[in-house]
C-alpha cells in the first residue's frame, strides 16, 4: 500500500441553492518522499484536495489514509505552509519558528539551537530578532518554511506558497524548496497554478480540471533532480503539460436558431 492514499473522494460545498460539487471521485496514491504538484486553474478543487489530505476539511465520501491511518484532523507530523505565510506578527522571527516546539519537552537551549539551524538553512540566520512585518514577502515565506522544518515533519503541504511573490524571488524559493525536499527525503504536496513551477519541482504532476474538480491526468516528470528551466527535457515536459491543458473541452452547448 502506498504512503498516502486518496480513495474515491467526493466533496461538496453548500451554496445558496443547494450544493456544489468541488471534487468528484478523486483517487490518488502517493509514495513516501515524492514531490507532488497539484496543478490546475482556479476552481478546480486543488486547494480543497490539499486541505482534505492535510486534515483541515473532511470529505463527504471516500477516504484518505496516511501511513495506513485515516486522516481525522491536522497533525504536527504533517505541516501546511500557506500562501499568506500564517506568521504571527507580534512574535519575532525566532519565536515564530519556535511555535511548534514550545509544547514539547525539549530544553529551551536545544529548541533555540534547532530554530537557529533551520533559520540559517533558509538563509535568515541574522534576522532572528526581526518581526515578520519588517521582512519582505519572500523572507516571510522562508520563516514559515523554517517553522515547518523545525518540527521535522514527514509531509509538507504547500498551498500556492509562492503565489504572492515576484518572479525572481519565486525562482529562488523554488530552488530552495527543491533542495530541502531532496535533503530530508520528505514528502511534499504542493498546490500551484504555475505550469513551469510544477515542472521544475514535481516528481509527478497531478492535473485537475474544474466543474466538478477531478483528476484529468497525472504526468511523471522524469528529468532527474538537477533541473534547468531552459533545457530541452524541461521544455518537453512543459509542452506535454500545456498540451494537456489546451486539449479542447467537448462542446456541450446546444444552439437553437
Amino acid at each position: 500500500m502506498s504512503y498516502i492514499t486518496v480513495k474515491d473522494v467526493n466533496k461538496y460545498y453548500p451554496t445558496d441553492n443547494g450544493k456544489r460539487q468541488v471534487l468528484k471521485d478523486v483517487s490518488l496514491d502517493i509514495e513516501k518522499g515524492e514531490f507532488i504538484c497539484l496543478l490546475g486553474a482556479s476552481g478546480c478543487g486543488k486547494t480543497t484536495l490539499l486541505n482534505l489530505v492535510a486534515g483541515f476539511e473532511k470529505p463527504d465520501s471516500g477516504e484518505i489514509l496516511i501511513d495506513g491511518n485515516k486522516v481525522t484532523g491536522p497533525q504536527k507530523k504533517y505541516i501546511t505552509i500557506f500562501q499568506n505565510y500564517g506568521l504571527l506578527p507580534w512574535r519575532t522571527v525566532e519565536k515564530n519558528v519556535l511555535l511548534g516546539l514550545e509544547d514539547e519537552k525539549i530544553p529551551v537551549k536545544e529548541q533555540k539551537e534547532r530554530a537557529d539551524k533551520y533559520l540559517r538553512m533558509v538563509g535568515l540566520g541574522q534576522y532572528k530578532k526581526y518581526r515578520p512585518g519588517q521582512l519582505s514577502g519572500g523572507m516571510q515565506q522562508r520563516v514559515a518554511i523554517a517553522r515547518a522544518l523545525c518540527v521535522e515533519p514527514e509531509i509538507i503541504f504547500m498551498d500556492e506558497p509562492f503565489g504572492a511573490l515576484d518572479a525572481i524571488t519565486r525562482m529562488k524559493l523554488q530552488d530552495d524548496i527543491l533542495k530541502l525536499s531532496l535533503e530530508g527525503n520528505r514528502t511534499v504536496i504542493f498546490v500551484t497554478h504555475d505550469i513551469e513551477e510544477a515542472v521544475f519541482l514535481a516528481d509527478r504532476i497531478v492535473i485537475l480540471e474544474p466543474n466538478p474538480g477531478r483528476i484529468k491526468q497525472i504526468i511523471k516528470v522524469d528529468i532527474g533532480t538537477h533541473r534547468d528551466r531552459t533545457r530541452d527535457d524541461f521544455l518537453a515536459v512543459r509542452d506535454k503539460v500545456m498540451t494537456c491543458f489546451e486539449e479542447k473541452q467537448p462542446d456541450v452547448t446546444e444552439y437553437y436558431i
Binding site: I79, G86, P89, L99, D103, V151
Partner: protein, 258 residues
C-alpha cells in the same frame, strides 16, 4: 517649530472660547454670581490646588477609576475570549448583553447604593458597568475577526484550545481589543463623576456637588476644566498605547503611510 505650530493649531479653538466667555462676562448678560469669569475660574483653580488639596481629590477619583476599570477590563477580556471563540455561547448570551448595555450605569445607582452601601463602592461599580460593555463587545468581535489561518496554524502544531486562546487568539485580537480599552476609558471617565456624586466625601464628583451646594460657580467651572484636562490626558495616553501596539504588531507602517 513644527511642534509649536501644532500646539498653536490645536489650542486656537480654546483661545477663541475663552475670549467669547470673557466678552460674555463683560457684557453682563448673565447674573455674575451665577456665571464666573475666566479669571475667577483660574483663581478658584489656584485656590483648589493650593488650599483645598485638589491632588487628593484627583487621587481618590483615579483610584476608583482604576479599580472599576481594571476589574471590568480583566473580566470583559476573559469573557470576550470565551464568547468570541465559542460562537454558540455568544448567540446565547448576546440578547441579554444588548438588553443591559443601553441602560445607563446611573440608572442602577439606587440599587447599587441599596446593595453595596455608600462610599467608594458605588463609584467603582458605575465605572465597572460603563467600561465593561465596550471592552466585552470589542473583544468578542476581535476574536471573531481573527484570521482563520492563525487557527489553522495552531491546530496544525497541535496547540491545545486553552493555549491557542492565550498564545494565538488573544495576541492576534489584541490590537482591536486595545481599541475597546481606549473607548471604554472615555466612557468610564464620563461616568466617574456621576458615580462620585452620591455618598462620597472625596473625588472630583464630590467637588462638583460641594461647589454646587455652596453656590461656588467659580470652583464648579474650575473642577469641570480639571475633569476635561484629565480626560484629555487619558485619551492621549490610550492613543499612544494603541499606536504602540499597532506598531509592535506590524500595522504601524501602514497607518503612517496614509
Amino acid at each position: 517649530m513644527k511642534v509649536l505650530k501644532k500646539i498653536f493649531k490645536s489650542s486656537l479653538i480654546f483661545i477663541i472660547v475663552i475670549v467669547i466667555w470673557q466678552l460674555n462676562w463683560n457684557a453682563g448678560i448673565y447674573n455674575r454670581s451665577l456665571f464666573p469669569s475666566p479669571l475667577q475660574t483660574v483663581k478658584a483653580l489656584w485656590y483648589e490646588i493650593t488650599q483645598d488639596n485638589l491632588y487628593l481629590h484627583i487621587g481618590a477619583s483615579m483610584s476608583r477609576y482604576l479599580t472599576g476599570y481594571i476589574i471590568a477590563a480583566v473580566l470583559a477580556v476573559f469573557l470576550g475570549l470565551i464568547f468570541g471563540y465559542y460562537t454558540k455561547s455568544w448567540e446565547f448570551v448576546n440578547p441579554l448583553v444588548q438588553f443591559i448595555r443601553p441602560i445607563s450605569p446611573i440608572a442602577w445607582m439606587p440599587f447599587i447604593v441599596l446593595w453595596f452601601g455608600i462610599g467608594d463602592i458605588p463609584a467603582d461599580v458605575v465605572i465597572f458597568i460603563a467600561a465593561f460593555f465596550p471592552i466585552l463587545l470589542s473583544t468578542v468581535s476581535a476574536v471573531r475577526n481573527v484570521d482563520r489561518v492563525y487557527l489553522r496554524v495552531a491546530s496544525n502544531f497541535d496547540i491545545s484550545t486553552g493555549k491557542t486562546l492565550m498564545k494565538i487568539i488573544f495576541p492576534a485580537a489584541f490590537p482591536q481589543i486595545m481599541n475597546g480599552f481606549h473607548m471604554a476609558c472615555g466612557t468610564a471617565w464620563i461616568f466617574l463623576v456621576a458615580g462620585e456624586m452620591i455618598g462620597t466625601q472625596s473625588g472630583l464628583g464630590y467637588l462638583i456637588i460641594d461647589a454646587r451646594n455652596n453656590l461656588r460657580t467659580d470652583i464648579l467651572a474650575a473642577v469641570i476644566i480639571v475633569i476635561g484636562l484629565i480626560g484629555l490626558g487619558i485619551d492621549a495616553l490610550m492613543k499612544y498605547l494603541e499606536n504602540l501596539v499597532k506598531e509592535k504588531w506590524g500595522f504601524g507602517i501602514l497607518e503612517k503611510s496614509r
